[in-house]
């Protein structure tokens, strides 16, 4: 079975532009997560989806960041008016969740975003 996939693997954009990052979770996984990893740091939680709904978006840094998962599978992280400080690796993970018990999150390879 395929793992979590993310596209593009690299994205270079100019300050002020809009970007979309895509995540395709493991088939059958109902939970999907976005994290941001800055250089030399561990991943930081951004948002978590259970099915189509965002169950916890407390990690989104501001209203320039938005994520959707319209059909409960693929998710898109959208960043408006990008800033240089948004440069990081954006990681996506997915898991199965049984009755609320924490399940292991499986990560994709990430999208490296560079804002010039």
């Amino acid at each position: 079975g395929a793992g979590v996939s993310q596209t593009p693997s690299n994205k270079v954009t100019e300050k002020g532009k809009y970007v979309e990052l895509r995540c395709d979770p493991i088939s059958g996984h109902t939970a999907l997560y976005w994290y941001r990893q800055s250089l030399g740091q561990g991943p930081e939680f951004l948002i978590y989806f259970q099915g189509t709904g965002a169950a916890d978006d407390s990690g989104l840094p501001n209203d320039r960041f938005f994520a959707v998962r319209p059909e409960g599978s693929v998710s898109t992280l959208k960043i408006q008016r990008t800033e240089r400080g948004d440069s990081a690796v954006y990681l996506c993970a997915s898991s199965t969740t049984y009755g609320g018990e924490t399940d292991t999150q499986y990560f994709g390879p990430g999208t490296r975003l560079t804002v010039l």
Binding site: Y33, Q41, G42, T102, T104, F107, P109, G110
Partner: protein, 115 residues
């Protein structure tokens, strides 16, 4: 508040040496989960182990072993007879009942295994 501390930023060893990576955590809950992930140069986080707070038994998987000590809030990871392929950044992570789907990661330990 939930927090994971990996005080060792970088460790270098020579192949075949044993190495222990430290992880200390903080949580307000009695039910929580601890994880270790490996991030090789390719960048993808690879799951290594998951442990819940009620299971304090140490675990061994091949050359890998984990020591969970609730009394000191530590979940240390030992690689025996290290190999060059073990070179990577290793992350410890925590989740608990207040935020069971939100993982808190440490800042990672970069392990360099030299031939």
């Amino acid at each position: 508040a939930q927090k994971v501390t990996q005080a060792q930023t970088e460790i270098s060893v020579v192949e075949k040496e044993d190495v222990t990576l430290d992880c200390v955590y903080e949580t307000r809950d009695t039910t929580y989960y601890l994880f270790w992930y490996k991030q090789p140069p390719s960048g993808e986080l690879v799951f290594l182990i998951r442990r819940n707070s009620f299971d304090e038994q140490n675990e061994i998987s091949g050359r890998y072993s984990w020591n969970f000590q609730k009394s000191t809030s530590s979940f240390n990871f030992t690689i025996t007879a290290s190999q060059v392929v073990d070179s990577a950044v290793y992350f410890c992570a925590l989740s608990d009942l207040y935020n069971f789907n939100k993982f808190y990661f440490g800042s990672g330990t970069k392990l360099n295994v030299k031939p």
